[in-house]
Amino acid sequence: MLLLSLVPAVWIGLRALGWFDGLGANPIEKLLELSGTHAMIALLIALAVTPLRQMTGLAWVTRLRRMLGLVAFGYVTAHALIWLGLDLFFDWELVLYDLTERPFVMVGFAAWVILLALAVTSTDGAQRRLRKKWVWLHRGVYVAGVLAILHFLWLARADYGEVAVYAAILAFLLGWRVVYSWISARRVRARRAATAS
């Protein structure tokens, strides 16, 4: 599974080396585009794990959740590094300007910070130590998902088809959780009522 999740990275790498038609006339922009798209997809895959378990009852998919989350973090980090190191070439004045003046960069950066916090606290130890707080903290992944959509939407120029697809998937995954927690809360209440009588 880990190997499978690295296929896009290898493919992007090979294109950077000139295979599969290379990266075209503006290779840095192309790298940003490709890494960004795959970061978005990886994030949606990681977000799909829990709903998938709830829908299908397949318990083993949960074991993939941490790995898929870290893969998503990896793609987002690669995307951010391409922006910082290749696009802006560590021109800190431009970096600061982007981070303070450009809303789409701001929300993208915020999403990365959230994912960084989640990646750092993804160990068993952190999970034990943080207990309830861990659950609360890791709900931040939904916020990161919404910010990623905004990031994509705000940089689009007269082309909203692709981002609309991602937004629809995210809305479905988030909607599912709301509906599911509502249903299970009702079930618990019903059970309580039954035992009380």
Binding site: G24, A25, L155, R157, A158, D159, G161
Partner: protein, 324 residues
Amino acid sequence: MLIRTRRRSDPARSEITPKAIYQRRREFLRVGVGLGAGVALGGLGMSAPASAALRGFELDFEPGDFSTDESKTPYDEVTSYNNFFEMGPGKSDPKTYADQLKTDPWTVKVDGLCDNPGEYAVEDFISPWSLEERIYRMRCVEGWSMVIPWIGFELNRIIEKAEPRGDARYVAFESIYDPDNLRGQRRRPASSGGLQWPYTEGLRMDEAMHPLTILAVGLYDEVLPNQNGAPIRLVVPWKYGFKSIKSIQHIRFVEDEPPTLWNQAQPDEYGFYSNVNPDVDHPRWSQRTERRIGEFRRRRTEMFNGYGDEVASMYEGMDLTEYF
């Protein structure tokens, strides 16, 4: 006539033809026009120029004024990476779907507030004028730039010939409307951000009369390939690239500022003037720097794309933050 565009797998012409012969090609073409261009092109085994309307048209040109001596962006990159939303929103879409633009026959209509309107076959529209090479910087509103050797003539010739009346204060341009063939004109408004076809653009009369403003019919030493706006397009080098409307069919003299496609779609992002200006950002991204295609580091964007000496006086006293 068939419109042939080079496939990705075809070798570049410069790869297969020795340079000396490659450079003499215009002589062949000149002979070719005499013999019948089709025969000459076929006989030499060269791929035909991409624009059917101007196939065999002799691009006999002189070096012109105002050319930059910066290194030119290679032909392959000028023709494979650009915006032409009629063929889709992607940068490689124009080349991929170039054959969806049908340029034969092609007429250009000149009318509106003028005493000598007319409707011309594109060949007749071009032939009275001697062609010049203009090597211009091109700065896209998205933050990338190129240096492109255009071949064309000054727009002011067309304007003078049309004899605009005193109340003609603006020139409006309109491109092709052909949703049956052009996939980009069939996109749903929701996914395209409400672009209203056909593509329209406009210039103030003094901008249109300016000697830097040209109508281009060629690129390097060839007629324009479809993806770059065949058979005839505007080039206004001190404005963002989208002002340089492609594949023009209609030029009209009007009294009031004409509606333009990008300004109508997103008025707070794309102004009527859209002069290159590093101090006025696009609401969503910075305009302070640009990436010259082929270069690694971004470079600082220059006011009026470096043509300030020639054009700044036209905007004296105007608040360029308000009239962006």
